[in-house]
């Protein structure tokens, strides 16, 4: 499918991430040239959703714990110390990945690549990595908000 190789992933992801961070978190983010492998390491949370249909794949957002807590406080309109625990943080990162995935899915469908979206899943910890295998395209984008970084990866075929 030629469409998969020609879709503007950077444009799609950039728009989706900016829209979600701006609307839901009131945070400005921008693309960064930082290395996606080393920027987000240590304790981190990954929120991901999958696409299934003519286009298969997934999108995930990886954020360090500290940034994830900032995002949670921003989305729920509370102070950092008011966050009760992992459940709230996981829910927020899951919802962020769902919104980014939903926006991407719409762009894919409108580009002639119909697909369905899964519900989000969450992985957290420090000793793991997200690997790419047998995908037609795998692209990573690093976003920066002040001194914090988030990595968004897209795998499609």
């Amino acid at each position: 499918m030629n469409e998969i190789n020609t879709v503007d992933l950077k444009g799609f992801v950039g728009n989706a991430v900016n829209e979600v961070f701006d609307t839901m978190l009131s945070m400005e983010v921008e693309f960064s040239d930082a290395d996606s492998q080393t920027t987000v390491d240590g304790n981190r949370i990954v929120g991901s959703v999958s696409f299934a249909g003519e286009l298969m794949g997934s999108v995930c957002i990886q954020v360090p714990d500290v940034f994830a807590r900032l995002m949670t406080a921003a989305m729920l309109g509370m102070e950092l110390e008011e966050i009760e625990g992992e459940e709230e943080v996981n829910d927020v990162i899951g919802e962020v990945s769902n919104m980014i995935g939903g926006d991407l899915k719409s762009r894919f469908c409108d580009s002639g690549l119909p697909c369905e979206l899964s519900i989000p899943s969450i992985t957290s910890g420090s000793d793991f990595k997200v690997e790419s295998r047998n995908w037609s395209r795998h692209e990573s984008f690093v976003f920066r908000h002040q001194q914090h970084f988030a990595v968004v990866e897209v795998f499609i075929k």
Binding site: E19, V20, T23, M24, M75, L76, G77, E84, E87, E88, D91, V92, G94, E95, N98, M99, G101, G102, D103, K105, S106, R107, C109, D110, P114, L117, I119
Partner: protein, 247 residues
């Protein structure tokens, strides 16, 4: 009369955002985390408006909407659908389903209120007539002890309501120097996962805030709670008086 709004979403985050959006309006919010719960709450509470997510586990929003439309008592309730997908096909499908309006995530609370105001009358919260304080169904004060009473049947809706008030109650307790809480399960008829989760939530919150907790329940409940790893260590008192004496 306060507007009754039901928010159905598997994400607690989204339910909180919807609740906050209505905070300054004369409204009572009910929550459900999937279509099955949503239908149950809708049948029980007869809300004036439903804010319904599409993608949810157990029963998604599309199926819930279709069942809602087949119920004579419920079919006229206006529904605003929430979707993370703004694609043409998705929007067309939503419009065909007969919803009053839809919102594409991400959205701000103010944007939701703008849509709501086109469908139902939304008045400002009346200071002199506050909405029913649901916390009074569960929380009361007995001397220097906060009592959390749980009703006969514990389901997800009850859990959500208690959870929604717990944090504020604990804050109130800390501010007023109250450091004891009795969790009264004496009327609870059945041990289920909603109850277990609620007991864990309450005990963890109390431990975190250095609040002493005693639990009251029947001997059979005491036996049942011992079967669960998370509640096996909890000592169950037979009566509230016993619990008071145990502090």
């Amino acid at each position: 009369m306060a507007l009754k709004v039901l928010t159905v979403d598997d994400s607690k985050t989204i339910r909180m955002i919807v609740k906050k959006a209505f905070k300054s309006f004369d409204s009572v919010l009910f929550e459900a985390e999937n279509g099955v719960e949503g239908l149950a709450v809708a049948a029980k509470e007869k809300p004036d408006l439903i804010v319904l997510d599409i993608t949810m586990p157990v029963m998604n929003g599309v199926e819930m909407l279709s069942r809602l439309k087949s119920e004579p008592d419920l079919k006229e309730i206006p529904v605003i659908m929430l979707t993370a997908e703004s694609g043409k096909d998705n929007v067309m499908q939503i419009v065909k389903m007969g919803v009053k309006d839809y919102m594409v995530k991400p959205f701000k609370g103010e944007q939701l209120i703008e849509r709501v105001e086109k469908i139902v009358k939304l008045g400002p919260k009346k200071a002199e007539e506050p909405a029913e304080d649901l916390s009074k169904r569960y929380f009361s004060v007995d001397g220097d002890i906060q009592v959390l009473f749980l009703p006969e049947k514990i389901d997800r809706q009850i859990s959500i309501q208690v959870e929604g008030h717990l944090k504020a109650k604990i804050k109130e307790m800390i501010n007023s120097g109250v450091s004891k809480l009795i969790l009264d399960l004496s009327k609870v008829a059945e041990t289920n996962m909603s109850l277990i989760k609620l007991i864990i939530l309450v005990t963890q919150n109390c431990q975190k805030s250095k609040i002493y907790i005693r639990v009251v329940g029947t001997p059979s409940m005491s036996d049942e709670l011992k079967e669960f790893a998370e509640t096996s260590e909890i000592t169950i008192e037979n009566t509230v008086e016993d619990a008071k004496a145990a502090f």
